[in-house]
Amino acid sequence: MLDLEAFGASTLPLLAYSPPGWGATLLAGLWNSVQIAVGAFGLGCLIGMGGAFGKLYGGPVLKDLLAIYTTVVRAVPELVLILILYFAVTDAVNQLLLSFGYARIQISGVAAGIAVLGVVQGAYATEVLRGAILSVPAGQIEAARSMGMPPLLLARRITLPLMMAAAVPGLANLWLVATKDTALLAVVGFAELTQATRQAAGTTKAFFTFFMAAGVLYLMLSLVSTLIFARIERWARRGQRTMGR
């Protein structure tokens, strides 16, 4: 017989917002996760934009270095990169501070998380954006160049708007990866949603209830972002002829 009690029906009040419920802790964790995901995604897009233009228009040495960056980051597990970068970045910053005669600082978890996940996201974003830039018809760029348009204006007016349509699906995927990768920061003890959930579950022993609740929160986040990105894609494709006409 399936015993509902065993699956934690009686532990549902533990999800209440105010103590003794742990709802506030979970929501604070979710807020931290979203902050890190937004920061990492933004940083990743910036790195990716630079990386994509570098890979396509940069010099041979820059191209080789970028190839090494994207290959290594995409071959090593995020969990390992997080550990390496987390220790290395904190260490490097503190060494720098000490050599300039300042005291050591404790780097905030949010900043470290954004930096680490941003570097990881940047490698994937480089590939996504490179493909998107390649999808822009060469004639458009050549036409702009032949009219004497300077490179930055060309990027802003021609390349970026035209590549958006091709870039949005890949970027949407990356955003979903970013939200899920924040969970990995639980391993370095940062209080994002998964770590907050484990803490709550460990204290109350209601593991099933809390992990299910966190799963629902993540799922809502990804469903809402899927909807938003579908809208953005429709906007980016405005003015494109629809298929099948």
Partner: protein, 259 residues
Amino acid sequence: MLKELMIPRRLALIAIVLALAIWSAYALRWDWLANPKYQALIWTGVRNTFWILIVTMVIGMTLAIPLGLAQAVGPWYLAAPARIFCSIIRGTPLLLQLWLLYYGVGTFFPSIPWIRDSSLWPILRQAWPYAVVALSLSVAGYEGEVMRGAFKGVPHGQLEAAKAMGMPRFTLFRRIWLPQALHRVLPTLGGETVLQLKATPLVATITVIDIYAVAGRVRQDTFIVYEPLLLLALVYMAITGLIVLLFRWFESRFPSRVA
């Protein structure tokens, strides 16, 4: 391949990498590698990582085929659950799924008498079954979506031709539909296997001894911060290289016509 490397700037780059490697070999601490205890642990870890990767990929792909088929051509009562399953797996972090299974479901088993008395109990008490189930379901969820596209992508004429020849439905699936769908996903499958490899270190968080767990153990024992992590990165890069080569070989064995 070799010719591409013999350009001055690449030679310089190789020299820099070699110099870095030699510097780290001398300047960093690698004496723990000589310890037979850690050597044995490292081999166990690598073996377990490979084992988990292969087993979960095989189970996951086996589950992904019906999931993809149900979504592509199944009736709504099969398609809808398959789609919901894929959305849930793809919409939540694997770490959370793993912990839900291990801490959540795993803690209920001892309270149910017939499970504790069954002969399966010695297995269910260990951590690795939960790791295998969680990682396999994850593969199934992601690949189910990929297989859906692959099944839909097989040209209709092929299936109609087989039907017109009076081929039974199961033979049609086995001989025509599945091989062509698998052929289509082969290029993606290599990338997905690398992604799965990168998911395997998560099992260390539920006490399965893979190579990541071994590195953590060494770091705890010896207080060496970076070196085990560097070794870890090297091992994963080597395995990634192996996977890429393997799939390149697979693809060359089943070449597709380039239009």
